[in-house]
């Protein structure tokens, strides 16, 4: 049986903004369809194996969960004010995230691609710089360092 894409929409609507477990990137994309949207943009922020010349093993994310949740909701509400979006959702990991895993996902959908791209970038930029979420980098040489977002 072919399941309607729209039957997944409740899952997107009820998404929690902060997750201690792996993000279901494929499942969220499967749910992110809307009859009025001709464009769906998905951004997956992933852990890379290097930063500033150092080999990275994994990251640990910490968040002030209630404030981060509230702030991501507010950022998405702002994006909905600025662009005519059919879907706008975001979810960020906490805890240990290994190389190649998704640390943050943003999905936007709109009638045309321009709005979906612009809103997606707006949402991820603000989440990175404003939400009370922090990464600690664990390097292959056994050292660790709390990250900053100065370069991205």
């Amino acid at each position: 049986m072919i399941r309607s894409a729209y039957s997944h929409q409740a899952a997107v609507a009820e998404l929690s903004e902060i997750s201690a477990g792996p993000l279901d990137v494929v499942g969220l994309l499967a749910a992110a369809h809307h009859p009025k949207a001709g464009a769906v943009v998905l951004f997956s922020g992933e852990v890379r194996n290097h930063n500033e010349g150092m080999a990275v093993d994994y990251l640990e994310y910490e968040a002030h969960e209630s404030m981060a949740t509230k702030m991501i909701k507010a950022i998405i509400a702002d994006a909905n004010q600025k662009w005519p979006l059919n879907i706008a959702v975001a979810q960020h990991r906490t805890g240990k995230v290994t190389v190649g895993e998704t640390a943050v996902i943003v999905i936007t959908a709109s009638a045309h691609r321009g709005e979906a791209y612009a809103a997606n970038q707006y949402i991820i930029d603000r989440i990175k710089h404003e939400a009370p979420i922090w990464k600690c980098e664990y390097f292959s040489d056994g050292t660790k360092k709390w990250g900053s977002n100065c370069h991205c």
């Binding site: 509230k70 009370p132 922090w134």
Partner: protein, 77 residues
């Protein structure tokens, strides 16, 4: 009052600790913490403060029953 610190601030202070009632606003809290650990002075200048899940300014009045969260610059994503 109860203080909660996050991320890199945990390298300078306990994650959670109590302070006396003589501190009356965020600015005096910031000064007090800088005196407790001078090496944290630089990072404290960059921090945001929150009370009851709301960001507050430096002139915000705090009382003995408050929990104050101190956030270094965000580094999510």
């Amino acid at each position: 009052m109860k203080i909660q610190v996050f991320a890199v601030l945990k390298e300078y202070f306990d994650k959670e600790f109590e302070l006396g009632d003589d501190i009356t606003d965020i600015a005096s809290l910031q000064s007090h913490l800088s005196c407790l650990n001078a090496s944290a002075q630089g990072i404290l200048q960059l921090c945001r403060f929150a009370v009851h899940d709301e960001f507050v300014d430096h002139d915000f009045t705090i009382t003995k029953n408050d929990t104050i969260c101190i956030f270094p610059p965000s580094s999510g994503g």
